[in-house]
């Protein structure tokens, strides 16, 4: 029955309040730094630089007093995929990684181990590690309430040029709010249908059409329930005089400090360097 306990699976990273300096950073600083560092890790072309970036992030995690094992927790389910990608790349080495300076190190059966492919695989693995750690770092040092507030603040200057920044941030916050209750609803629906004798496992792989149809008694009520909840909430918002974000003030105000600015600048510089340095 454990597979039907949905609520505990809907965690995009668990907030771990250890009271470190990072937890006390302004969420806007954390969000911006996260974005810069992700961009840096995504576009950094060299393996060495990526390795340095990875070590930098590990240091950050340690300074935020987050246990490394916790931060790496998301990697285990991904390992088979990483291995599969590595094998595929080795198989198709010439088309995936080619260019001047690429030579064959060894030919193992159908796998052509060239130095370029090894470089690519190392890049993928290290980049993956960095991005996972960065994500864990953000989600474990920032609560969802803080993230919503930070996003709202960051997007609010766009309101004056007509881009619905406040509304976008509100959508994020509402999504956070809806996810747990929808997970509970899904659980209820699944159990209710099972109690009525529905079989969600019928058909196996090949009869996927039948299996998709078998999901309908779950999917249709699920979607309709969600849409109805959305309608009710919209009505409630309008009944309370919701007119959008323009000119809106807030109860909880964020205060920018020197250390927040420093964090943003450092992240920016680190990511620019990561992209430009070709070690």
């Amino acid at each position: 029955m454990n597979e039907f306990e949905f609520l505990r699976r809907v965690n995009i990273g668990i907030y771990l309040p250890t009271g470190s300096w990072m937890h006390r950073l302004d969420p806007r600083a954390k969000l911006l730094s996260f974005l810069f560092l992700v961009a840096g890790a995504t576009f950094a072309p060299s393996v060495v630089v990526n390795l340095l970036l990875l070590s930098f992030v590990v240091l950050l995690i340690a300074s935020a007093r987050i246990p490394l094992k916790f931060a790496f927790a998301g990697i285990r389910p991904a390992i088979p995929f990483l291995v599969a990608i590595a094998l595929l790349d080795l198989l198709f080495a010439p088309s995936v990684a080619s260019g001047p300076g690429c030579f064959l190190v060894r030919q193992l059966w159908v796998f052509s181990v060239t130095n370029c492919v090894l470089n690519l695989i190392a890049l993928i693995f290290i980049r993956f590690g960095t991005l996972i750690l960065l994500t864990s770092l953000l989600t474990s040092t920032t609560s969802t309430a803080e993230m919503g507030l930070g996003m709202e603040n960051l997007l609010s200057p766009l309101n004056s040029i007509g881009f619905p920044g406040y509304e976008l941030a509100l959508i994020f916050s509402l999504t956070f709010r809806f996810v747990p209750s929808f997970a509970l609803e899904a659980e209820r629906l699944v159990k209710a249908q099972l109690a009525r004798g529905a079989d969600f496992g019928e058909g196996g792989r090949w009869k996927f059409v039948r299996r998709a149809k078998a999901m309908l008694p779950l999917m249709v009520p699920f979607f309709l329930m969600a849409l109805q909840k959305a309608e009710v909430m919209a009505l409630a918002m309008e009944a309370r005089g919701f007119v959008g974000g323009k000119g809106r003030t807030h109860y909880r105000v964020l205060h920018f400090r020197l250390i927040d600015g420093l964090a943003i600048v450092v992240s920016f510089i680190v990511s620019i360097l990561a992209v430009l340095i070709r070690l």
Partner: protein
């Protein structure tokens, strides 16, 4: 209303995005199919629905949040690249909307079916395209994955999207009779 996003569009966008997240987190969004990856995903369907029911802006937003979630959720490493996870997904709802709007004159069923097909195709083609552009896989493998994966995914998407839209529209118009 000074903004292009009414309260209703905001809440529907959030609700559909939340569905995408729940489908992903609980594995409900994966239908086993006989392909190398093992399953077809229905997590892009909320983005298609967003485009059909509330228009292009909501479609893009739901696709974006779906992309952001798949970026944050670590289990499939290829989506740890935001260009692969987020950028292509923005187009799912957008193209689904246009597909729906342009085929509406041929009836609701045709329009929704076409929209679901286009939306799923957008997801498959753009994501795989991005994977190839970023150099993670080569063109031939991507094409093979795209075909073996894409076809079941399209079929599944139509099977699920159509009843949901029709049921919702029936609820909205208050009519009790089934049109099918």
């Amino acid at each position: 209303m000074s903004s292009s996003l009414s309260a209703r569009k905001i809440t529907v966008a959030a609700a559909l995005s939340a569905i995408a997240v729940v489908l992903g987190a609980t594995q409900l969004g994966f239908i086993p199919v006989p392909t190398p990856a093992g399953h077809a995903t229905i997590m892009h369907i909320p983005a298609i629905l967003g485009g059909i029911l509330e228009g292009p802006v909501v479609g893009v937003i739901v696709g974006g949040i779906f992309g952001i979630y798949s970026f944050l959720d670590a289990s499939t490493p290829i989506f740890k690249d935001p260009l692969v996870a987020i950028l292509p997904r923005l187009f799912i709802g957008l193209f689904a909307y246009y597909a729906y709007a342009w085929t509406k004159r041929w009836g609701e069923v045709a329009a929704v079916t076409f929209s679901a097909i286009i939306g799923t195709l957008t997801n498959t083609v753009f994501v795989l395209g991005m994977i190839v552009i970023r150099g993670y896989l080569d063109g031939k493998t991507a094409l093979a994955v795209g075909i073996t994966h894409g076809i079941p995914e399209i079929v599944v998407a139509v099977i699920i999207t159509l009843p949901v839209v029709l049921a919702w529209k029936r609820i909205e118009t208050g009519r009790g009779k089934s049109k099918l």
